[in-house]
Amino acid sequence: MNFLAMRMLVGDRLKYLSLVAGLAFAALLVTQQASIFCGYALRTGSWIHDERCCDLWVMDDQADFTEANKDILDTALDRVRGVSGVLWAVPMYKGYLKCRLPDGTALSARVIGVDDATLIGAPARMVEGRTDGLRRDRAVFINADQAGDGLLLKRANPPRPLRVGDSIAINDNEAIVAGAYRATPEFFWDPVFYTTFSRALAMAPSERRTTTYVLVKVRPGSSISEVAGRIGRIPGLKAVTGDQFAAMTMDYVLKKTGILVNFGITIGLGFLIGVLVSGQTLYTFMLDNMKHFATLKAMGAGNLAIIKMVGLQAAWVGGIGYGIGVGGAAFTGFVFSKIGVAFEMPWQIPVIGAVAILLCCVAAAIFSLVRVLRLDPAVVFKG
C-alpha cells in the first residue's frame, strides 16, 4: 500500500510539486523569520557579551536594559568594593551625548567611559591602534564597522568614513579618534565612542549621579550569586551576571518594542498560509483521487490502510517540503549574514519548524481523511 500511496502522490507531478512548494514555503517563512527574530533578539545582548572582563554588572536597581541610563552615585563604587567576595570593582559610564563629526554632521552617540587606571571594559578586539592609546589626551575609539556607516562623513567631498586621527566634538568637547575596534553587531544602532571614565564625565552634562555601571570581578572561590546577593542588599543597587543582564535587555526590547508582535504575526501568518496552501492542495488532491480511493475500498482496502496511505503521503510531502524550506532558510541566512541582517538559527528553530510543518500536515491529512473515510465505496458504480 505504501507503493500505491507514493505512486498516487508523485504521479501527478504538478499537484505533487504544489504540495511540496506550499509546505516548503511555510517551513521557509517560519524558520527564516524565527531565525531573523532570534538574530535580532540575541543582538540586544551583544555589547554585554563583548565585555567579558567582569563577573557582575552593578547598576541602579531600576535599570532594566543596557540603554536605560539610570545612573548611580559615585559612592556606590566604594560600597561595592567593600562587599565581601569582591576582588575588584571599576566604574563605567554610558550615556547618549551630542556629537559633531569633522564635516559638521551632527548625531547622537553612545559614549562609554572605562576605568582610567585599568582600562577594564575597553574594547578587546582592536583593529587599529592599541588599547592603551585611550590614555592619550582627548582619545576616543570608534567601532570600525560604524566608520563607514553611522560615522560616515556625508558632507565631505567626497564622503568618507571617520578614521583614526580625525577630530570630533562630543558635547562641544574636542576628541581625537585614536583607534578603531571590532565588535559583535548590536541591536541598538547609535554610534559608539569609547573613552576613559573621567574624560566621559568631562564631556557629559554635569549630574549628581555619574556612574552607570560598576564592573565587578568576584574573588576566586567566592560564589558569584552570593556576592550578587550581598551587593543587591545595598540600597538602590542590583548586581547581575552578563547573561542575566543580556536576558533583561532582550526581555525589555521584546516587551517594549513591536518586534516580538511583528515577527510573531509574520511567523503565524507563514504557518497559517502553509496550513491553508498545503491543506487546500492536499484536500484537492484527495478529492481528485476520491474515485480511486473508492475503488481501493471496494477492492478490499480497509480504513486503516487508507489512513496509512494518506499519512504516508502527508508525511512524505511534509518531509520534503520541510527539508527544502529549512535549507532555503539556511541559505538565505548565509546570504543575509553577508549584508549584515541578523540571522541566528539555533537548533530549537528547526525543531519548531518541524513541529509547525507536522501540524500543517496532520491538519491537512485530517481534513482530507474525513472525506475519504466517509466515502461510500458504492460510488464506484456511479460512473
Binding site: 498516487m8 504521479g11 475503488t295 475500498k297 471496494a298 477492492m299 458504480f381
Partner: protein
Amino acid sequence: MTSTIQEYQSVIPHPPELAVHCRGVTKSYGAGAAKVTALRGIDLDVRTGELLMLVGPSGCGKTTLISCIAGILDQDEGRCSVFGHDFKLMPQREKTRLRGRTVGFVFQAFNLLPTLSAAENVAVPLLIHQIPRAKAIAKAREILDRVGLGARHGAMPSELSGGQQQRVAIARALVHDPKIIVCDEPTSALDHETGHQIMEMLRSVAMRSGRSLVIVTHDARIFEFADRIAQMDDGTVQRVVDSAEELNN
C-alpha cells in the same frame, strides 16, 4: 477471523450449487418524502460457474443489486449470501477483507489508477492483501499475458485504448482469483467490436474454475454471452430467462 467466517457460514443456509442466494432483498435511499425505493423484495440466485446478466431500464435497481451482492451496500431487509456469507451481518473490517478476497470488480469507466502502469494496476488487489510487490507484479504480468496485453505491461492507462484499458481492468478483477466477478456496464464505453472481444475474453478467461460473473448491462448486443438473463424493472426481478431470444418474446 477464519472462525468468524465459519460462524457466518453456519448461520446462513446456502445451497452449495449457488454462488449468490438473495431472498426478499429491499433497499431504499433517503427518508421521508425524499425516500426512493431501489429494490423491492428481490429474489435471485446466481449459480456457480454461471454468467448472469442483469438488464433493465435505467433506475430499475441493477446497480444497487450488484452493490448488495458485492458487499459494498447493505440491504435494508432480506438476505443476500455470497458463497454462504451475508456481508450485511459482518463487522465492517471483516466485510472489507472478505469482499477483497471473494469479489472481483469491472467498472464501466475502468477505474484504473492513472499514475500506475498496466501491470501495477493489475497488481493492486494483491498489494491490498499485502502480497510483496515483486511477486504481485509478476502475477499481474502473467494475467496480462492471458488477456493479450503482456507486451503492454509497462504502459500507463493514458497510453492504452478503451478496449485495452478494460482488458487491464478485467485482469485486475482476475488477479486475486476471486470466486465471483461483478461487472458494471463493461462494454458501454467501447465500440461494438471491442465490446464483443471483451465479452469473449470474459467468457474464456474469467469463467474458469467455476467462477461466476454478474454483469449489469444495457447493451443488448452482448446478451448472447449470458447463461441466464435477469430482467429487472422498478426494483424487482420481472423474470429470469435463458437466452436473448426468450427475453425478446
